[in-house]
Symmetry: D2
Subunit: 341 residues, 4 copies
């Protein structure tokens, strides 16, 4: 039984980690850190977890990390790097924030606006897109979970860019994100009365921070700079990301490549050619559905990927990585079926 700590346990990704680990056969939660709600029980903070026998929330300073085998950091961006810089240097860590996703400190500063406060840790961090960094993750001490949008887009496009199957200069990704991706922060536009029954584009024109990840990863696999066009939309649903990608390439070849690359992946389902996924069919699960459709215009294809932002997009992915780091079966605790309806 591995002892687990979760820092930032009062947010949505923290709660999702607890939900997943509660069904895991070889992990037990030993410490829950959450400075702002320290002293509260999880039954107060998240009544849906009241049936579980969980430690109360404590401040991070009050955690004895010598007892911990692996620590999930579900802290806000920027806070995460400050906290992780002070954690024991041999502690296995899966970070769910954006702090260690970008390898280049300059790129980090460009997208996040500040100098990185944990450059040493940044250097050793492995990018946590499991399906493409599996071996590195097994050997890693610090894994940086990918952005939820970044994961979705990469599941759709990364193999196609790597294989040279699509025009690298004309990739458009139109994302539709559910609201839990914005976290539990108190903002007017996240109120039910504001959001329900309406939807809109945001961070439009190429200003969303997850573009830093797309640029880094797509350029790396292409061996040359790749800049995609990316417009996220906020839709009135709680969980789910749908990435509709418009590419120039042959749909049949694209579909074949995705089927080949994901053939043995336990969580990536490639739909039959011509079918497109729905977020309702992956909710609450670690699965990602990918579909390919030929457009009526020759030489154009639409690739659509769907996943649950809190599961495969963050906490499920984090657990998948933790399994690898602890040499547990990769799918342990993650095979639950989606919740529908």
């Amino acid at each position: 039984m591995y002892n687990i700590a979760i820092l930032g346990a009062s947010g949505y990704t923290g709660a999702e980690l607890i939900r997943l680990i509660s069904g895991h056969s070889s992990m037990q939660i030993k410490a829950l850190g959450g400075n702002s709600k320290a002293g509260q029980s999880m039954a107060e903070v998240f009544p849906h977890l009241r049936h579980l026998d969980l430690p109360a929330l404590v401040t991070i300073d009050d955690i004895d990390f010598s007892q911990i085998d692996l620590c999930f950091c579900a802290l806000p961006h920027k806070t995460s790097q400050e906290v992780i810089a002070k954690l024991p240097a041999d502690l296995k860590i899966v970070d769910l924030s954006a702090d260690f996703r970008l390898r280049d400190p300059e790129a980090y500063k460009k997208w996040y606006g500040n100098d990185h406060a944990a450059l040493d840790q940044q250097k050793e961090a492995v990018y946590g897109l499991t399906e493409f960094y599996r071996e590195e993750i097994k050997a890693a001490r610090l894994v940086a979970g990918t952005g939820c949008n970044a994961a979705t887009g990469q599941f759709a496009l990364r193999p196609l860019i790597a294989a040279g199957l699509i025009d690298l200069d004309d990739i458009i990704m139109d994302l539709k994100c559910a609201v839990s991706g914005a976290g539990r922060s108190l903002k007017e536009n996240l109120l039910h009365a504001e959001l329900s029954e309406g939807y809109h584009a945001y961070a439009i024109g190429g200003t969303h921070r997850h573009l830093g990840e797309f640029d880094q990863e797509f350029s790396a696999v292409a061996g040359r700079p790749v800049k995609v066009q990316f417009t996220p939309h906020l839709v009135p649903a709680n969980r789910g990301i749908l990435a509709t990608c418009y590419v120039k390439g042959d749909a049949l070849a694209i579909h074949g490549e995705l089927e080949k690359v994901y053939a043995d992946e336990p969580f990536i389902e490639v739909l039959p050619l011509g079918e497109a996924p729905s977020t309702r069919h992956i909710r609450g699960s670690n699965f990602c559905h990918v579909g390919v459709v030929q457009d009526r215009i020759d030489g154009r294809a639409i690739v659509v990927a769907a996943l649950d932002n809190l599961t495969k997009g963050s906490s499920g992915q984090a657990l998948q990585n933790a399994n690898l780091m602890l040499d547990i079966a990769e799918t342990e605790g993650l095979m639950m079926a989606p919740l529908f309806p």
Copy 2:
């Protein structure tokens, strides 16, 4: 490994059974029956289950029941009794329909409008409210799953009626049900455009069929006729039932009795006195949360129960019963945490 058949696998309770059984350590799905969609794969009927290796849907006649250890019937009311009458007489069955809930054929006819077509089976059927019929269920061949509303109301009130703690002639139950309780039937008022952003009372005035169960069970435990007032409401959510029960009695005594009765129950959580549950905290799980609050008027209390209609209200309850019938741990496959947010 027990071999399981599910009849009526193309409805919501059928899909929910498959979701739950997919995480069960000692059951495997051997046959899926669904006459109207026979020949289709489950990936077509329920794309969220496409990652599972499931048999295709077949007609019920095409199932070889000699290989089946236990059969779940998730068929529509009335169809269920006709089908079950023809199944092998020694086949263990958990029926999710309303057909075998009422012991008195007259009561059945009063509430459902037709003569019962399987009187022999009706006689041997055990009422499936696990927490109160545990021993009978262990020994049963045919268990009749309770109505989802009936289960919710009984979790709130049954111990209080049994203990004589409330006025039996003045019980009012105001239920708020989510829409999946109405099943996958094509009705105008179940369309998203009709239901979303609105709510209303239905079957108002005491015409809802689940009253047959309340009358039967509450009268049995009271040892005299008990008739409750019951008004269900349809609210724009997918899963969940919230029963707000207005009773005359002492809140402290009521709370104490519920705590005592449910002390060892794995799925019934009694909240601290003065707290009331929310459906959002049990979604997708087999848990039922019960709360008690003292009203400002002396001698009156409000008892509120919340559960997921598809899980604890039907398919989860059914699996709990099946576990007992097969001498498996009662909680096997059912301890997943709720999905929030």
Copy 3:
């Protein structure tokens, strides 16, 4: 053309007033006050009003009230009394807050926790339930809009209490409120991710402040103290209140009385006996639908009322009262049909 000022124009009831007045033939908006967002245009604060030619938001101190014929105060409770105390003594005011609803300063203090800071104005304030205070409102300088829940419950029950048709000691009101009733305040439980797909009771046990209004008004019409039991629930919808009232009395007599009392009311629709209303059928309108159903238990009836909390429950009611105060046709600007679907 009457010149109108709205204080608190950056909240939902303020926006609703602007929506309604934009279609009014003899009112024009001259000033919009909102201290926290002073300096912003309404197109920034409420983009759905961007097609209107509206004054920018200013601080209340910057409004020249000598030009104003009538002022709507849509300010938070407690702020409202402080502001109104300083407004010109002859300015016609419709207040949408709770500050002037309770006539008895002791009752006010009991429910709101503080001494009233504008006792002079409190004395002259008229309770704004138009259908029952029409003549007083016509003559009033300061009208106190009713609580949205209080209005809904009174439309269902007030005539029955006045006529002595129901047992005054056994009235239970189970309300279901949409989320816009909680205003535009930043609270965790009002986030879309928290509220959507779940519902719960709150202020349970008789602690909701609108009980102060029920107690005052029901006792007044009964000529003796009347205390109702009242439990509000928050449901995942934006607009609407549904009050399900459980009473002891004769359904036929009750229905007849409601039909008689509301026969000439332009906004109160009594449904045929046996039918119950839905919030989806009054959304965005000033209508209130009332239905009566006989319960299966003799001598008991269920009275259900539905209205839109932002319209008939607050801003529509306020405009109706303002029309009376300015001697304009009572229905002017208020006859728009509900928005469905």
Copy 4:
């Protein structure tokens, strides 16, 4: 006062027409046709209209068209052409179906699969995109309402294609449609339990019928064939269409052109450069908001348009056209503000 008939009054666009006309100063509804629900009152079919004094539904054959000044046809596709072929040849008609949108019978057959059954009427029909066919509509007898998606996309792109400001061979339109656009038809995927909390692309790859309109209209204004890429998505909301259009051109020039073209339009609001619209800000209104944003990639812009599919997308547009045909002020009955929240 003009006498109005509405055929197909039991669908959503029929109900929306009644809502709008109920606030119109010079139209009165004389006849409501709806074969499947003939004999029912509108209060039964649409309880939200119960406060209106409306004729009961009758069969179309029972309507005396000699008394009618203008007839709205809100019938299903294909039925509409059969009915209109038999109506009096001098009756002014606004058709809301797809039947008369395409001028070329071959194009009609290609997209709708059948030969047109009213070729004479098809010849005289005027395409009902008011802002671009105003003069033709004033003189028309039969106006064909545009598709709701087709209207949204044209408001975003038509002026840009006409002005030669964007690359005609690389236009991608990603639409997000609310569910009322699918009408009141009983389909499994329109059930609340299916649709709520999920979203997906449909008619993907260029098979949506509104492409017939885009092809016809964009090619006409460009003076050469233009084929756009178009992917609609269904999102869990009731009203609204958001068209996110990816174009190659200069954002500043694009924004300037849209501002110029729509400068005097009462219903088209061009947002400041860099801002994008939301469907929540046009719900229930006849307004269309259009925004332009420069992408981070040089030479690319995103144009986003939002409207309410039932209002500006169909019934509001139809009333706007009817106003022109009857020489009434174009905005009469259509200036109501959006409903938010």
